[in-house]
């Protein structure tokens, strides 16, 4: 029971590797003491599920919202196939003459402006950007682009993201030019969250494992439903 609890706990904790190992060791020692004393179940009840424990026990690293420019570069890397398809189709459409059939980014349209080849290209590129990259991000909060740029996506409460969050936050990509409405929200809040970051309770931050931050610990008497952000 302790081992499986700790495995789940590790999955949800967001911290640099050294601190993460320290939290694991401390929680394990605590649970083993409780087991020896015969009140392990009581302790587990107080801790809550592993994500709850990770939310309140583990993460004390103050997380820094990622700079917008770095996020844009990371996004360009991650969505390169989609960008290539979108721009390629748009350019071909322009060269074909009016009407312009494709906007940037491209979107799937249920009409006769898209032939099968175009549709497959857009669907394939979107599937990679939304589902493929979303699932990759769920594993560690990092996409290829984010890993290169030292960024990580976390839940707004400071724990790791779940699969639903990783995929759903990318849905705006399927909306064509309306994705820019999603992006506008970045300038409207201090955590630099897009609209779908707000809806999925996610934040893109500097990777705590690489940013070398010295972490002041938040006041536990503060509302724990949101993390203190720097």
């Amino acid at each position: 029971m302790i081992d499986s609890y700790l495995r789940e706990f590790d999955r949800w904790v967001v911290a640099d590797p050294e601190r993460k190992a320290e939290y694991h060791a401390e929680l394990e020692a605590h649970l083993r003491e409780a087991e020896k004393a015969g009140d392990l179940l009581q302790v587990l009840e107080r801790l809550g599920d592993p994500r709850e424990a990770a939310r309140s026990f583990g993460p004390t690293t103050r997380l820094v919202p990622a700079p917008i420019r770095r996020r844009l570069v990371a996004a360009a890397i991650d969505h390169a196939p989609f960008l290539v398809v979108s721009i390629g189709l748009a350019v071909l459409s322009i060269l074909d003459g009016p009407p312009i059939r494709f906007a940037v980014p491209a979107m799937i349209r249920i009409d006769d402006t898209m032939d099968l080849g175009d549709t497959l290209l857009v669907v394939g590129a979107l599937a990679w950007s939304i589902i493929g990259i979303g699932l990759i991000e769920t594993r560690s909060g990092r996409t290829p682009g984010k890993a290169l740029l030292g960024l990580q996506t976390v839940s707004a409460d400071g724990t790791a993201i779940g699969p639903g969050q990783g995929i759903c936050r990318r849905v705006p990509l399927s909306l064509g030019p309306l994705v820019f409405v999603d992006l506008l929200f970045v300038g409207a809040n201090e955590r630099r969250q897009r609209l779908f970051d707000l809806l999925t309770h996610t934040v893109v931050v500097l990777d705590p494992g690489r940013s070398g931050q010295s972490p002041p610990v938040p006041d536990p008497s503060a509302d724990r439903s949101t993390r203190p952000w720097r």
């Binding site: 302790v43 107080r46 610990v217």
Partner: protein
């Protein structure tokens, strides 16, 4: 209702309680929770989710230091110990606590006198 009141009143005092406990000797996390929860009925139950963030914060602020120690044949435990800076912090919190409770008592006595 009583639990909710106790929790609310205890929310701002956990740091004072922890520092005061550690002033009498180093302790590890499970030991701290067991002692505090067995202290009296009038103290609200301390949860791990409250204790460890405070301990880590106190450590980052230099008020406590931690070390892993194994005694006899027990597995290693992470002990927390008060530092000199922590003792000064405890004195300051104690003085503030005394001042606050004295002031509140005066107001409560006023209210009692009126009724």
């Amino acid at each position: 209702m009583e639990d909710a009141i106790r929790r609310e009143l205890a929310r701002g005092t956990i740091e004072l309680v922890l520092l005061a406990l550690l002033a009498s000797g180093s302790r590890y996390g499970y030991q701290i929770i067991s002692e505090l929860n067995n202290l009296t009925e009038s103290t609200p139950e301390i949860k791990e989710g409250t204790l460890y963030p405070v301990l880590h914060r106190l450590e980052d602020a230099g008020h406590v230091v931690s070390s892993w120690e194994a005694h006899d044949r027990t597995p290693p435990r992470k002990y927390y110990q008060l530092t000199t800076v922590g003792r000064a912090r405890l004195s300051a919190l104690r003085a503030e606590w005394d001042r606050l409770t004295k002031g509140i008592r005066k107001v409560l006595d006023l209210e009692g006198a009126e009724t």
